[in-house]
């Protein structure tokens, strides 16, 4: 029996497993609806990685806490449902200041590699990571748990590198500070200001969520979201799952759900068979990837895998009970209590845009040293274009060396080669899995597009830009700051996201002034 702690959930005492996130504990306790939206809909976990703010609950009297980002503690009091006023007068605001040569934002594969390379070459390196343990989304693991085998070497290397790692840190501002940069973050213990001569942004990617009728029902979550919730301690044993959307992530997600004891009723890839087959054939030139894909397929053998099929609607009273799937001609309904749906990944470029870095399409533009258009600001991994873990590591290493300024990345040509080959692979993948046009037509006039503010599609009809939609309909005005609806509006209407201003993440007012 694992250790247990006792939570109070809406006044009810609930024993839960220790060491898991609040979101996972609540899922295991059968609480699917965590908050009541501004129009009164129940909402549950969507992204499970701190992006979407759908899982927010009041914790010990402090409202708007992300359940996916905090671990359970014995005696913790949780209130779900409508917005609660502030119930605490505890002013546990504390500030901490650090100084370094290189600050790395994010401790996924790119951030870890960057931090290792920078610290190993003698630069005083500080890593600010939103996760509870280093590893990023791909190597997500709970504190105290063994890191996944694939990440162990890097995580151990990070621990030896001399870099200072601050976990649970949401960076909400990066600003010029004389010749240096000042990063402001919220941490579990208060706020933290880091001054550094160079900044490496390794902020990873998030899932692309696109609106369809019923997508706001609790139980409909991201594909990576379901996986992240699983890695955060949720038990999906006995759940009936449908995995749908697009991209190579669907396979590993289905595999991990199956391994966790879920009954995977269907895996549906919206891209057509010829696209997927073509992509698979193309994989022959990347034997490592082919093997990976095959292994995932094997793990959930028995679950039907359909191409050219997508979710048209989620149905249920209060929670998802079924999804209606379609191939564009016929529709069929599949019963499920977990729908893991996402349409690929979107780079997290908010901090880079806040810094004023030039963009190339939806990705941050960088030079051969991973330096952005803003001198002293480097970027590595997914923000430079979604390309997966191998590219992220190579780019992280290059950025770490270049930012530390004591070694020339060009002296290690293998890194540049890994980056180039991985980027070529990514370019093929992007085209193959982009959502088909029919998906633009799924949302109905009353389908909510902005989940923070419950702005329906019909409210956007008369608008011609993301900014106008935001001002007139409130879409993008909520705490996720448009991270969910922004890319959806880009897909639906071709609108570019509004500008990024500090705070680039919600932050307590008492923390805004941390650095000055």
């Amino acid at each position: 029996m694992p250790d247990r702690v006792r939570l109070t959930v809406d006044g009810r005492s609930v024993p839960v497993e220790a060491g898991v996130t609040v979101a996972a504990a609540l899922a295991n306790a059968g609480v699917a609806s965590l908050r009541s939206s501004v129009t009164g809909e129940g909402r549950g976990v969507l992204c499970a990685m701190g992006i979407c703010f759908e899982c927010r609950v009041a914790i010990d009297g402090a409202p708007h806490r992300r359940a996916c980002m905090e671990l359970v503690r014995d005696g913790m009091s949780i209130a779900t449902g409508p917005d609660h006023g502030l119930q605490t007068t505890d002013d546990g605001l504390s500030h901490e200041a650090l100084d370094g040569d290189v600050a790395v934002v994010g401790a996924g594969p790119a951030g870890i590699a960057a931090a290792c390379r920078a610290a190993e070459s003698g630069a005083r390196t500080v890593v600010l990571d939103e996760g509870l343990t280093p590893g990023g989304q791909i190597h997500r693991h709970l504190p105290g748990a063994e890191p996944p085998e694939a990440a162990r070497r890097w995580i151990e290397r990070l621990a030896r590198s001399g870099a200072v790692v601050i976990g649970g840190a949401s960076v909400f501002d990066v600003a010029r500070h004389g010749e240096a940069f000042l990063l402001s973050a919220e941490t579990p213990s208060g706020a933290c200001a880091v001054t550094a001569k160079r900044v490496i942004l390794a902020t990873g990617a998030r899932e692309l969520f696109l609106p369809f009728p019923g997508w706001t029902l609790p139980g409909v979550m991201g594909a990576g979201g379901a996986q992240a919730l699983l890695k955060s301690g949720a038990s999906f044993a006995g759940r009936a799952a449908v995995v749908a959307g697009s991209g190579p992530l669907l396979l590993p997600v289905a595999a991990s759900l199956a391994k966790a004891g879920a009954d995977v009723a269907l895996v549906a890839e919206q891209a057509g068979l010829s696209t997927v087959a073509g992509f698979g054939a193309g994989l022959a030139r990347f034997p490592g990837k082919l093997l990976e894909a095959a292994r995932y397929r094997a793990a959930f053998l028995g679950a039907p895998y359909r191409t050219g099929t997508w979710v048209a609607e989620a149905r249920g009273a209060g929670c998802v009970e079924s999804v209606v799937m379609t191939d564009g001609r016929k529709r069929f309904e599949v019963a499920c209590d977990l729908a893991a749906v996402a349409f690929g990944l979107v780079p997290n470029t908010e901090l880079a845009r806040l810094c004023g870095c030039a963009m190339r399409g939806s990705a941050v533009a960088v030079d051969e040293n991973q330096e952005t258009s803003v001198e002293g600001v480097f970027c590595a991994g997914e923000p430079c274009g979604v390309a997966g873990v191998d590219v992220a590591v190579a780019e992280g290493e290059i950025a770490g060396m270049a930012a530390a300024g004591r070694a020339d990345p060009a002296a290690e040509p293998a890194l540049g080669r890994a980056r180039a080959s991985g980027r070529r692979f990514a370019a093929r993948m992007e085209g193959a899995f982009s959502p088909r046009a029919e998906i633009r037509g799924l949302a109905r006039p009353d389908t909510i597009v902005c989940r923070c503010e419950d702005a329906p599609l019909s409210a956007l009809a008369s608008c011609s830009s993301a900014r106008e939609a935001k001002l007139a309909s409130r879409a993008g005005m909520g705490p996720c700051q448009g991270r969910v609806c922004g890319p959806a509006l880009q897909f639906l209407f071709g609108w570019d996201s509004d500008t990024v201003r500090p705070p680039a993440r919600p932050a307590l007012i008492g923390h805004l002034t941390v650095s000055r």
């Binding site: 501004v38 402090a62 409202p63 708007h64 917005d83 006023g85 502030l86 605490t88 007068t89 505890d90 002013d91 605001l93 501002d173 600003a175 608008c463 011609s464 830009s465 900014r467 106008e468 001002l471 007139a472 005005m477 909520g478 705490p479 700051q481 201003r501 500090p502 705070p503 919600p506 932050a507 307590l508 007012i509 008492g510 805004l512 002034t513 000055r516």
Partner: protein
């Protein structure tokens, strides 16, 4: 068909002018460089407030607040109209003396007010810090969401046949004509309601952009009930110094808190100035320490169209035939939009106005300042 009037600018002032002009039976075209309500209007707090800093300011704000009251029952929910009232907060006994003077000023002019002592204030707004001296409550003041109020006013005008042309940025205004990249628009009269951009179209208008910052929080229903302003606000608003801050907190209908205010003359640099934002936040925390625990979700900036004597520019611009001005409303444009529209409509139609329009004439003599 040449319309009676072309209104340049679809901010709150232009929208209100279009509404009033069409209500009076005139045909109107509104030209907007981007989209309705997207510039200074979008950055405004939306506090509908009667001011006492001068007789002229009182007359216009009081007329305007009455007009807003008249619309209240018709405004859709998206306009977020709410009669929150204003509390002018006094920190000490000196400021309480000011509250008494202010109360007398309003009362003599028929505006309902109420003086709150320290314990009344604590009861009304328990999140203010203890030890404040009291406040003046102006219960009839209100809050609206400016963007949707402007869009609703425009919608009314369009419903009466007005034409809204978005994406038509005026490049110059001549006699009864406005030039845009989409061609010339002719009319019997032109109203320059271009906000901070008004002086670019009518050179000589003494309007300078005065930058402000606002911070909005997540939802905390009930955290505060009134629009709260420190009594020293007017000192900040009228200060000739290049920058100033004042405590100004607004409860939104959504349960969010909107926190201001700052004033700077820095041209048209819209970036967040973290130093002055932090000064503004610290000032607010002095009055309301509990704000520190509220989550801030966005910050933005905007440009108030400021004039040298703190009064707007409303009326005929005599050097160009057929040109009327409705600009320079500084931080009171949402409040005074409706009164402005009334005066503009009256002068165009040659009707008498309910208040003396002379103090707002753009042709008046101005004090010299470093900024305008």
């Amino acid at each position: 068909m040449v319309p009676d009037v072309v209104v340049v600018g679809a901010g709150i002032v232009g929208a209100a002018c279009a509404d009033a002009l069409t209500e009076a039976g005139l045909s109107v075209t509104v030209l907007e460089s981007r989209f309705a309500g997207g510039a200074t209007t979008a950055a405004a707090m939306g506090h509908i407030v009667v001011m006492d800093d001068s007789e002229a300011q009182f007359a216009l704000t009081s007329l305007s607040r009455g007009l807003w009251e008249g619309l209240a029952s018709r405004m859709p929910r998206a306009c977020e109209d709410e009669r929150t009232g204003t509390l002018w907060v006094a920190a000490d006994d000196t400021e309480m003396a000011h509250v008494r003077r202010k109360a007398a000023f309003y009362a003599e002019r028929g505006v309902e007010v109420e003086q709150l002592d320290a314990s009344d204030l604590e009861r009304e707004e328990p999140n203010l810090r203890p030890g404040l001296a009291g406040a003046l409550r102006v219960p009839g003041d209100r809050v609206v969401y400016p963007v949707n109020a402007a869009r609703w006013l425009l919608g009314r005008a369009v419903g009466r046949g007005a034409r809204l042309v978005e994406g038509a940025e005026a490049s110059s205004i001549g006699a009864r004509r406005v030039m845009t990249p989409r061609g010339a628009f002719e009319a019997g009269a032109v109203v320059n309601a271009a906000g901070a951009a008004a002086p670019l179209l009518t050179p000589g208008l003494p309007v300078a952009p005065r930058k402000g910052h606002l911070v909005i929080t997540d939802r905390y229903p009930g955290f505060c009930r009134h629009q709260l302003i420190e009594l020293g606000y007017l000192t900040s608003a009228h200060s000739p110094s290049p920058e100033s801050v004042a405590f100004n907190l607004q409860p939104r209908a959504t349960g969010q808190m909107l926190l201001g205010s700052s004033r700077e003359f820095v041209g048209l640099d819209a970036s967040v100035n973290r130093r002055i934002r932090d000064r503004m936040v610290r000032r607010a925390l002095e009055f309301m320490p509990g704000l520190a625990r509220l989550s801030a979700i966005r910050t933005w900036t905007g440009f108030r169209p400021a004039t040298p004597d703190n009064l707007p520019l409303i009326g005929r611009w005599e050097s160009i035939p057929g040109l009327f001005v409705a600009a320079g409303h500084e931080g009171l444009g949402i409040t005074t939009a409706l009164g402005t529209a009334r005066l503009v409509t009256d002068v165009i139609l040659g009707r008498p106005s309910p208040i003396d329009p002379a103090p707002y004439s753009p042709m008046r003599a101005f004090p010299k300042t470093a900024h305008a």
